[in-house]
């Protein structure tokens, strides 16, 4: 092991695997090319599909000429609204059936002549080869009757309406009288920020391989939500859920973009049904942009008032975001302002405006990633106003309880995170004057911002099977989108059962397995861990039951609480038996334990818990930038993130996830934006050459530290790490740029034209 990892390992003495920097179990498969993704499953007779996209934002298709496309040798069929078999409409959203949330849009593709956004699929070409399908798709000629469309977010903002709240997502808050307190405050900032739309850009474009066998469907798909996808397809295609098998062992990145069901999946299944052939629809990068929603743009106002001591007297945070007319959701943009600062007067409002654009969707830390940019930039600006140190200003306003709800924090170690971070980053060496620090010709700036992401968890069904030789199989429909899902659950099971890690195998990514939690909201690891822990306890009870009844067992008559699981068996003091011995004595080839999730009961408990606790992952982001004084090019030169994410199960994979979030946050800060033509709603940069995600050269060494203090309210004390890393990151960059240049950039991304 390299010393770089030893630094972040912080292993505990107790458990053998939990907390360690264990290598990923899928490492070999992913470094040899063995791991197969959704578009990589061969079928004899496989046909290939390609999409035709609408080129108007709103209207009706008056005619669609497919003759030229059909005439291309190798074209099997061209499906349009005139000839495609009908799908059932998407079910109405209901909180009694959460799977109804999985529909990306409400459009019934190829069953309507209506066009709802520029890029909506209006035809599918099926051909013998992918090249033929793509070529023929370019020959399909739709004619349209255009209707007026609202596509310009900036222009439509005044038409925004208050965002609807729900039981688990409040969209407004009022405490005291924030406007009056702001007016009376001796120190204040009142700033308006904008953030652009973003696209997930998982390197694996969405792809579906659909194979019908009579009324049975096999689907190879990269998804973050196997059970909801399956249920949705059953509803749309009128077959029982049991008739559908979704296989998704590896997902080439998701970030929220593979959390819903989008056009490509539905149309691949439809095309396979219509042609009677197995069909693969591997979207082009441009097709991903045109059919898979991204992050909403936002306009946010943050106004802060403070007294001369730097105590906040007023906090106002309002936001406008957009949805699509046919789907999408309002993000929790101001939610972070409920929890971060002890202001006596707080006013929070969120509103949305529906536009004739593709529905927006979840993208890594929806709400918090852009909400922390605005709030944490404003707090930094207030520090300038006060002449205060930005770290000290935050610590002066660190609340003891939740500022809005008054609940206790399940876990809150921001003070410790900032203290450790400031020391490690050399914060005291920072000359607070703007532009005062230089490295050669480069202007140097240092900025901080708080990271915050709520900690939530759902349920998982898990089955464990132990064979006569003591090897264990964990079965759970987990989603391996790169988080090390199988590795982490194997570590937990190995420790709980006291067996070597290499004797545990995790089966995942298959709808035939007990349903796992979705890979979203940073909830998969904790949700599955609870299931694995319960299943391990059940399995040990079963094994002890066998041992207690065996006449010669040293465990005869023992209660479950007594023996210790270690060295591949159950022991009490020095006496005990290996699992293999227990099973052999009982004449069993294997034992099983199953835990079934009960979503409704769990949700009830979660809602009750929300009244008692505010649960979150938090962190302190420290960023150093170098700015070229002539070109104003910004380079991130150093980064430290100190995170309070409860107990870390795998020091290697957790660090990678946190770093990955920070990398995406650096992209958000400096280069990422999905550009939409405000005249016709067309995305003008639907490619990786024109949407600039960070590359190797943009990313310095990112130092990640954990406080590693277990959250007592979470299974094993763990808090999900998938999203907190991106939060606060863009603000930390903006604040460092402010320090280096004296310029406050309010509009992301911080491109050099905004600094010149």
């Amino acid at each position: 092991m390299s010393t770089k990892y030893a630094e972040t390992e912080q292993a505990t003495a107790g458990p053998k695997y939990v907390g360690r920097a264990v290598d990923r179990l899928d490492g070999r498969a992913k470094t040899t090319g063995e791991a197969r993704f959704a578009a990589e499953h061969p079928y004899p007779d496989l046909a290939h599909a390609a999409l035709v996209h609408a080129t108007i934002p709103r209207g009706r298709i008056t005619a669609i000429d497919t003759a030229e496309a059909r005439a291309v040798p190798g074209v099997i069929d061209v499906l349009t609204h005139e000839n495609a078999p009908a799908m059932k409409p998407a079910p109405k959203v209901s909180f009694l059936d959460l799977s109804t949330l999985v529909s990306g849009t409400s459009v019934n593709y190829l069953a309507t002549d209506e066009v709802h956004w520029n890029g909506q699929p209006v035809a599918v070409v099926v051909a013998e080869t992918p090249e033929t399908a793509r070529y023929a798709a370019s020959l399909v000629r739709p004619a349209y009757q255009e209707l007026p469309a609202a596509v310009d977010f900036a222009a439509e903002e005044p038409n925004a309406v208050p965002q609807k709240g729900s039981l688990i997502a409040e969209t407004k808050a009022d405490k005291g009288d924030a406007p009056a307190a702001l007016a009376a405050a001796p120190y204040a900032v009142d700033l308006t920020f904008t953030t652009p739309p973003h696209s997930h850009n998982a390197i694996e474009p969405h792809a579906t391989t659909a194979v019908w066998d009579g009324d049975k469907l096999t689907l190879h798909e990269g998804t973050q939500n196997i059970p909801w996808l399956r249920k949705h397809l059953a509803q749309r295609f009128g077959v029982p859920e049991k008739a559908i098998r979704v296989l998704s062992p590896y997902v080439g990145g998701g970030f929220g973009g593979k959390g819903s069901v989008w056009a490509g999946t539905l149309l691949a299944v439809l095309a396979a049904r219509a042609t009677g052939r197995p069909v693969r629809l591997a979207l082009t990068r441009a097709s991903v942009y045109h059919t898979v929603g991204g992050r909403t743009p936002s306009t946010q106002r943050v106004a802060l008032g403070a007294d001369a001591d730097g105590r906040l007297t007023a906090l106002i945070h309002t936001s406008v975001s957009r949805t699509g007319r046919t789907g999408g959701m309002g993000e929790q943009i101001t939610a972070v302002s409920r929890h971060l600062y002890a202001a006596p007067n707080i006013h929070l409002r969120q509103s949305t405006v529906p536009l004739d654009l593709l529905a927006n969707t979840f993208m890594r830390a929806p709400g918090e990633s852009i909400g922390t940019f605005a709030l944490e930039s404003a707090v930094d600006e207030l520090a300038w106003e006060l002449g205060a140190d930005p770290v000290e200003l935050r610590m002066r306003n660190e609340p003891e309880r939740d500022p809005v709800g008054g609940q206790r924090f399940a876990q809150r170690m921001l003070r410790e995170a900032y203290a450790l971070g400031a020391e490690r980053f050399g914060w005291r060496e920072r000359d607070p004057r703007p532009g005062a620090m230089r490295d050669g010709r480069w202007l140097v700036g240092m900025g901080v911002a708080t990271a915050y992401h709520p900690s939530i968890r759902m349920t998982a069904s898990v089955t464990l099977r132990m064979a006569a030789d003591g090897t264990v199989v964990v079965r759970c429909g987990l989603h391996e989108i790169g988080v090390g899902a199988a590795t982490v659950q194997a570590q937990i099971a190995a420790d709980e059962l006291g067996v070597p890690l290499d004797s545990v195998r995790v089966e995942h990514g298959d709808s035939d397995l007990p349903p796992g939690p979705q890979a979203g909201g940073s909830m998969q690891t904790a949700s599955a861990a609870a299931g694995v822990l319960a299943a391990c306890a059940k399995l040990k009870r079963t094994l002890l039951g066998l041992a207690r009844r065996a006449p010669d067992s040293p465990l005869r008559g023992r209660r479950l609480e007594e023996p210790e699981a270690r060295d591949g068996g159950l022991y009490l003091g020095g006496r005990g038996q290996t699992y293999a011995e227990i099973l052999a004595a009982a004449g069993r080839t294997h034992v099983e334990a199953a835990v079934k999730s009960n979503t409704l009961r769990f949700l009830t408990r979660t809602l009750r818990e929300r009244r008692k606790w505010v649960k979150a992952a938090t962190g302190a982001q420290f960023c150093e930038v170098r700015v070229d004084p002539d070109t104003m090019e910004v380079r991130v030169s150093r980064w430290l993130g100190v995170f309070d994410v409860g107990r870390v199960i795998n020091a290697k994979t957790a660090a990678s996830q946190l770093r990955g979030g920070i990398v995406m946050g650096i992209g958000m800060a400096l280069s990422e934006q999905t550009l939409i033509d405000h005249r016709d709603g067309r995305i003008v940069n639907p490619s990786l050459s024109e949407y600039h995600v960070p590359v190797h050269a943009d990313i310095p060494r990112i130092d990640v530290r954990y406080l590693d203090e277990p959250d007592p309210t979470m299974p094993l004390g763990l808090i999900g790490v998938g999203e907190v890393g991106i939060t606060g990151a863009a603000a930390a960059v903006a604040n460092a740029v402010r320090h280096a240049t004296g310029k406050r950039v309010l509009d992301l991304p911080i491109t050099l034209d905004k600094l010149l």
Binding site: M1, S2, K4, Y5, D23, R24, D26, G27, R28, A29, K30, T31, T32, G33, F37, A39, E40, P42, T129, P130, E131, H200, N201, A202, I203, E204, P205, V251, G252, G253, G254, F255, A282, R285, I481, G482, V483, G484, K652, T653, A655, S656, Q657, R659, G660, G661, I662, V663, M664, S687, L688, S689, V693, P694, V695, H696, A697, I699, R701, I702
Partner: protein
């Protein structure tokens, strides 16, 4: 259709391809070598990187017919210490860019050893800055860049060249 012969991962393959078929599609769809990935199909992401006679190329920007008589190595034909180093340093998450990163790194190390310059070339030593610059054609959206650079530096450090 044009008949071409390529040595792919050590074995001679002959196949009939239309002139517009990319090398990437020929490898993936005709030869079943799905290790090289399609991330953008326009040379912007590097997930399709393979070695052609030892040189790294974006196979999505290459036409299969151009590579008649050439020797192609995909990740399936790679046996290199980098693979183990990527695992040890967690140089990937989802794994989709990994084949390209590894093939690209192999090609990059050879380029550097052969004295090919880059925009940041200084002393001639392979620095982290050199690696970052030379690997910038390979995107990783999971953000595993630190681990990838660590893996490459680790292997390069042990490289007797």
């Amino acid at each position: 259709m044009t008949e071409i012969r390529m040595k792919v991962n050590g074995s001679v393959e002959s196949l009939d391809v239309e002139p517009w078929v990319s090398l990437l599609d020929a490898l993936r769809e005709r030869l079943g070598l799905t290790g090289p990935k399609k991330g953008c199909d326009q040379g912007a992401c590097g997930a399709c990187t393979v070695l052609a006679d030892g040189m790294r190329i974006n196979s999505c920007l290459a036409l299969a017919v151009q590579y008649d008589g050439r020797e192609i190595t995909t990740i399936e034909g790679v046996a290199h210490p980098l693979q183990e180093a990527f695992v040890r340093h967690d140089g990937f998450q989802c794994g989709y860019c990994t084949s390209g990163q590894i093939c690209s790194a192999i090609g990059m190390l050879a380029e550097h050893a052969a004295g090919m310059p880059s925009a940041v070339t200084g002393s001639g030593e392979l620095s982290e800055a050199e690696v970052r610059e030379r690997m910038s054609g390979n995107l990783c959206r999971c953000g595993a860049y630190n681990g990838i650079v660590d893996a490459i530096m680790d292997v390069a450090g042990k490289d007797p060249r």
